[in-house]
């Protein structure tokens, strides 16, 4: 017990806790809509694009997030449009974009600095990676997501459940879909500092499917997803520190256990 209290004396732990908690709440909220609209893999695609962008930024000595944020936002927009126009199926589009971005990142990394601890952190998550500027950005993005989610909650529900009906009664569904993708891109870029590019999508998908197992109203599902997400993040961070395992993997394991429990107690 003494050890745990001692951990909080390290500022990097506090930063990771703060940003991790905020991002896990945001990811859970957005994730419910993504899972229900069958966009689960969008987080995977976006985080791989984020990794490619970070690798390029490191090679060019630029501030990583200044490169990663615009590129990931662009990728989110492209993914939505590719899915809509129907020439390339949505899931195939994501697979092509995400593996290409990952490949570019790997080539850039191996041509410049080689695989060091930094790159490992980007791929698999690190509790050390959250800087002070990440905290400001994380808090800003979390506020944006939470405020927009509350304000547009009823519209988000209507669009998630039935896009045709929402359009028919005058909701600008394209606008909200773009908003959803953009917010997801922001959460992914910040969240992947802790989760790593390879595992970021689990933060979007796991809490949502766990909550859907237990609850059958939308409001309860969302509240449950956010709660499960935070609990699993805290458990995962603790596991990561206690057993010295990569943070992202540890959080995914916590989510897997939560999902297994939900399957047992849920419907």
């Amino acid at each position: 017990m003494y050890n745990i209290v001692e951990l909080f004396q390290y500022s990097f732990v506090v930063r990771a806790l703060l940003v991790g908690t905020l991002m896990s709440i945001c990811a859970a909220l957005l994730g419910v809509s993504l899972v229900l609209k069958r966009y689960s893999m969008i987080g995977d695609g976006l985080s791989h694009v984020g990794f490619g962008a970070l690798a390029v930024a490191m090679a060019l000595n630029l501030v990583p997030l200044y490169v990663a944020i615009p590129l990931t936002l662009l990728a989110a927009y492209v993914l939505l449009k590719l899915g809509e126009c129907g020439r390339l199926k949505g899931d195939a589009a994501i697979a092509i974009l995400s593996s290409s971005a990952l490949a570019i990142g790997i080539i850039v990394v191996s041509c410049t600095q080689g695989f060091n601890a930094d790159v490992g952190g980007y791929l698999f998550g690190s509790i050390l990676a959250v800087s002070k500027s990440d905290v400001y950005l994380g808090v800003g993005i979390a506020l944006l997501v939470l405020v927009l989610y509350v304000v547009f909650y009823n519209k988000i529900f209507a669009i998630t459940f039935d896009e045709s009906f929402a359009r028919a009664i005058g909701v600008n569904t394209d606008r909200y879909r773009t908003l959803l993708a953009a917010l997801t891109a922001l959460v992914v870029v910040v969240g992947m500092r802790i989760m790593g590019a390879m595992l970021m999508s689990s933060l979007l998908v796991f809490p949502a499917i766990t909550a859907m197992r237990i609850f059958s109203t939308f409001r309860c599902t969302i509240i449950c997803a956010a709660t499960v997400s935070v609990v699993c993040l805290l458990a995962g961070l603790l596991g990561s520190l206690l057993f010295s395992i990569p943070t992202g993997a540890s959080i995914v394991m916590a989510n897997l256990i939560a999902y297994a429990l939900a399957r047992v107690v849920g419907r």
Binding site: L36, K37, R38, G86, V151, F152, N154, K155, F157, A158, F161, D162, S164, F165, A166, R167, A168, I169, G170, V171, A211, M212, F215, S216, T217, F218, R219, C220, T221
Partner: protein, 240 residues
Amino acid sequence: MDAFSANSIIVAEDVSITYDGRIAVSNVNLSVDAGDYLCIIGENGSGKSTLMKGLLGIVNLADGCVRLTCLQRSQIGYLPQRTPAQRDFPASVFEIVLSGRLNRQGVLSFYTDEDRAQVRENLAYLQVDELADEPYRNLSGGQKQRVLLARALCASERVLMLDEPVAGLDPIMTGELQMLLDKLNKERKLTIVMISHDVVSAVRCANKILHMHKSPLFFGKTADYVETDIYKKLVACIHV
């Protein structure tokens, strides 16, 4: 043609719609008066659903125009075909029906007590008020359609557009739903535009028929439709 009249609330003029680069609907002219019950019939892929989406403004028209008189587009209650995503969707009946009131909200959308009262009233009218707190995903097909009908009623007290509402329902539920629609049309004077596969019941319920085959093969009063060769051939096929 006397199916067109001066007091129409929905008029389509030379409407054409392309879908995936192909022409799905071409040269449709129709008019719907207040209180009409219009059935759109035709084979699969004859452009019925696309035409309805065009009337609702969900898809863009390639040509022609849709004019609404004393009616806003968002004041049409729509019952779309069911999507696979809805099968395991975590939502209560009440949440879903309440979303029908969204067209009364501005940018900031928060429901009022009046909205909630309206939901209860419509659920009661459709005899599904005891399902209000039930999870939608646990309902039977017929119950789901009544719930979606209640949502459409929350969106509009005047016009309903229904895209194959009885698809996949057993004969008893189909009959019940058709009776409900009949009742809404007669009691509440609701204008109904419905896509149907069932020609026999369409002719029984509707006062106007649109028979689609990318473009209209027939549009007019039901009494005239039953005299046409298209109808007689179709009925002959069914009874063989």
